[in-house]
């Protein structure tokens, strides 16, 4: 059964990408294809998870070659669990992106590159989770990275290109490091098969092991954004369109964490570099969260919390105990879901409020109570407020740290608690500013501009009712600034609207921007638009899923504990690849 199902999470998205490219001129059909394909991937992944949990790890030798020669795909509890989470989150974000495309009215855009690229990205992520040898792990990484380059720079505007160049160069460097370490590992052991490596690496001299171990950790550390290799992330993520940032934040760094878990458990189980990882985890947590507290743009805040919480997972891995590993895996699952959801909510906030700067937002809780709930629940979840899954994951990790008993572990536990508190600070800053405070306290540029545009010369009459509505909603008088700065404000506002539109359009189809009719439609202030139903629904479902993680936390934690047992034992993985006759 696994033999049939295991290749599907890779094959389906790749074939789906080809299909989506073929039907690129029929955007409705294209959306149907991508949603169908990803739903199928979710179904297959869930089936794989049930099989893997019931029967233990299983491996598929592609092309039925004998084992050390063949390319193997390995499904154990960890990779099946990661597949389920990744595909579910991928599907949620895709629905959000489709909703965004529909909301922007590009029903008949010519050729949309977003869907095929997105499917290739999901295929690459699945491949990285399933790959049973180092080189195919590298290929999986390259597939997902290459599509991420395209997604990140979609639309090709100046800030995206600036951010994209940093991202691409850093990713390339880490890929080259990974490739070089594969070359050295092959030179030392004569194989790249993970199961075979786990047997052969132990026979190498200590110094050689340390070198290979360090090289792999640096390569994966860049991908997972572990301090001091994390500076690229907050620089490059915030410029991308909301769904793209969401899926990047959820999945890409976690693939790096997954690779670190494999390195630490399967290849180098004696933990020579555990102490280094431990301190890197502490620095990642603290420096990341201090960055988040300093920022004033919601997406940048979220990017920094993303870096910071990678530290929790690395902490769990560095403990090198079953409890620590179980906590880390649980935290990966929780964090993929929660971080993606928060970035989606941020996308909604930008649509509703017209900006990402916390200094300019205000009164969203009264203007849009639904959005407030959608933000509040995952934000508290991220900060680790009970009863949410973030709390459970953190308690698991802290418990594992205390059980470890070393003084370094205690320091880390302290650091983790401080990080959790600072996350709460960062999240509640966003909450109090963007949602809670009366809108009058926010910089009133938005509403003043809206008012000014009512009298502006370039304002179509059809905009008036909407404009009046929005001003009423926000419960604001026209500031005295309204008349004085009317022209510049109006221009700024118009541009802002145009940009938000550009962002949205670029998500669905970068080519669509010029083709659409640009009448009064383009001048409309995004802050006056209601929330699009599909986007809100997709975000709502994602929020429900993160809450659902709390409800199933017991069984889920049991599963991650069993996965951690397998990983620490190593034999299930090796036996799955070799069958009965494991060479000694």
């Amino acid at each position: 059964m696994t033999g049939v199902l295991a290749p599907l999470p890779v094959l389906l998205p790749l074939l789906g990408a080809a299909a989506a490219l073929l039907v690129g001129r029929h955007s409705r059909l294209q959306r149907a294809v991508s949603i169908l394909v990803l739903s199928a991937v979710v179904a297959v992944s869930v089936a794989l998870l049930f099989i893997a949990d019931a029967n233990g790890a299983a491996a598929v030798a592609v092309g039925d070659w004998p084992v050390p020669v063949a390319i193997v795909l390995v499904v154990d509890r960890l990779s099946a669990l990661m597949l389920v989470v990744a595909s579910t989150v991928g599907l949620g974000v895709l629905v959000f992106a489709v909703g965004q495309g529909t909301a922007d009215g590009d029903e008949d855009t010519p050729l949309s590159i977003f869907h095929p690229t997105y499917l290739v990205l999901i295929g690459g992520v699945s491949y990285a989770f399933l790959a049973g040898d180092l080189f195919n792990l590298y290929v999986g990484f390259e597939v997902l990275l290459t599509s991420s380059y395209v997604l990140l720079t979609m639309g090709g505007s100046a800030p995206r290109i600036r951010a994209g160049i940093t991202y691409v160069v850093v990713s390339l460097l880490s890929s080259l490091l990974f490739l070089a370490s594969i070359a050295l590992i092959y030179a030392a052991t004569g194989t790249v098969n993970l199961a075979q490596l786990s047997l052969r690496i132990a026979e190498l001299p200590d110094g050689t092991q340390l070198l290979l171990h360090g090289l792999l950790l640096i390569a994966f550390g860049i991908k997972a954004a572990v301090f001091p290799l994390s500076a690229w992330l907050p620089d490059s993520y915030p410029t991308a369109p909301a769904p793209v940032t969401a899926v990047f934040a959820g999945l890409l760094t976690k693939v790096g964490v997954y690779a670190i878990i494999r390195t630490q458990t399967l290849l180098f189980p004696d933990g020579a570099l555990d102490d280094v990882l431990m301190w890197a985890a502490l620095a990642t947590m603290l420096i990341g969260i201090l960055g988040a507290v300093a920022q004033s743009d919601i997406r940048r805040i979220l990017s920094f919390t993303l870096v910071s919480h990678i530290g929790y997972m690395v902490f769990g891995i560095a403990l090198a105990s079953t409890a620590g590993l179980a906590g880390a895996i649980f935290y990966v699952v929780h964090h993929i879901a929660i971080q993606t959801t928060l970035f989606l909510v941020a996308g909604l906030v930008e649509r509703r409020g017209g900006t990402m700067a916390t200094g300019r937002l205000g009164g969203l809780a009264t203007a849009s109570p639904l959005l407030a709930v959608l933000f509040f629940v995952p934000a508290m979840n991220l900060a680790g407020i009970p009863p949410f899954s973030g709390f459970i994951g953190k308690v698991g990790l802290l418990g594992a740290g205390i059980a470890d008993g070393g003084w370094a572990a205690y320091v880390l536990v302290g650091g983790a608690v401080v990080t959790s508190l600072l996350t709460l600070v960062a999240m509640s800053r966003v909450w109090t500013r963007a949602f809670w405070r009366p809108p009058a306290q926010a910089a009133s540029a938005d509403t003043a501009a809206a008012a000014a545009r009512d009298a502006g010369p370039d304002d179509g009459p059809e905009d008036d009712p909407t404009g009046a509505d929005g001003t009423d909603d926000d419960g604001l008088d026209l500031g005295p600034a309204g008349g004085a700065t009317s022209t510049t404000e109006a221009r700024q506002s118009g541009r802002r609207g145009g940009w938000a539109r550009h962002v949205a359009v670029a998500t669905a189809a970068p080519e669509g921007g010029e083709g659409r009719p640009s009448g009064g439609d383009d001048d409309r202030d995004p802050s006056l638009e209601p929330l699009p139903a599909v986007m809100t629904a997709a975000t709502g479902v994602m929020v429900a899923l993160t809450v659902g993680l709390t409800l199933i936390a017991g069984p889920l934690y049991g599963l991650t504990a069993r996965a951690a047992d397998d990983l620490r034992d190593r034999l299930p993985y090796i036996e799955a690849v070799y069958g009965e006759q494991v060479p000694r």
Partner: protein
């Protein structure tokens, strides 16, 4: 079947030159550095197969005389990947040149702004109160739009005739 000193020296030289170029601010050099690093890594992968031997073709050579075919397969894959990514990187640098007339790695304005800020409170400064050139890039609300870039470029490069300056960036599609 004798080991050779040439390959390690070449690999080391390529790595050194590649790292040096990669550290440069100019994007053209970064690309060249990446190409050198890629080639160095490919050679490293190739050298992992041991000393040179006969081509690993079934029936052409005995198994003992063949060189290891696996690294060659890996190198081929790696070359394809490096090639594709280099092309993409070139396209991005070209795009960057068209947009801002620079081919250097730009600073993250938002980052600079946060670093310069004196108050503890992140919300003291409204980015839109700043003069245009101090505004952070990379944010939807304060971003100088394409039009801004065009205007500023037109001012900066007034004397330079170029169709690039007035060309609307990335709007392909229907006209």
């Amino acid at each position: 079947m004798t080991p050779t000193i040439v390959l390690p020296v070449v690999i080391g030289g390529l790595y050194a030159a590649g790292v040096y170029l990669l550290l440069d601010r100019s994007l053209t050099r970064v690309i060249l550095g990446f190409v050198l690093l890629g080639n160095a890594t490919n050679l490293l992968l190739l050298s992992a197969s041991g000393p040179a031997a006969l081509a690993p073709i079934f029936g052409y050579a005995e198994a003992e005389e063949m060189s290891d075919p696996l690294p060659q397969a890996l190198v081929l894959t790696a070359i394809v990947i490096t090639f594709g990514v280099t092309a993409f990187l070139l396209a991005m640098v070209h795009r960057s040149w068209r947009l801002v007339r620079q081919e250097v790695i730009e600073v993250d304005e938002e980052d600079r702004r946060v670093a310069r800020r004196e108050g503890m409170d992140a919300d003291d400064i409204d980015p839109d109160d700043l003069p245009t050139e101090d505004r952070p890039a990379g944010k939807g609300n304060t971003l100088h739009s394409d039009v801004d870039v065009e205007e500023r470029l037109a001012q900066r490069y007034e004397g330079i005739p170029s169709d690039d300056v007035t060309l609307p960036p990335t709007r392909g599609g229907r006209s």
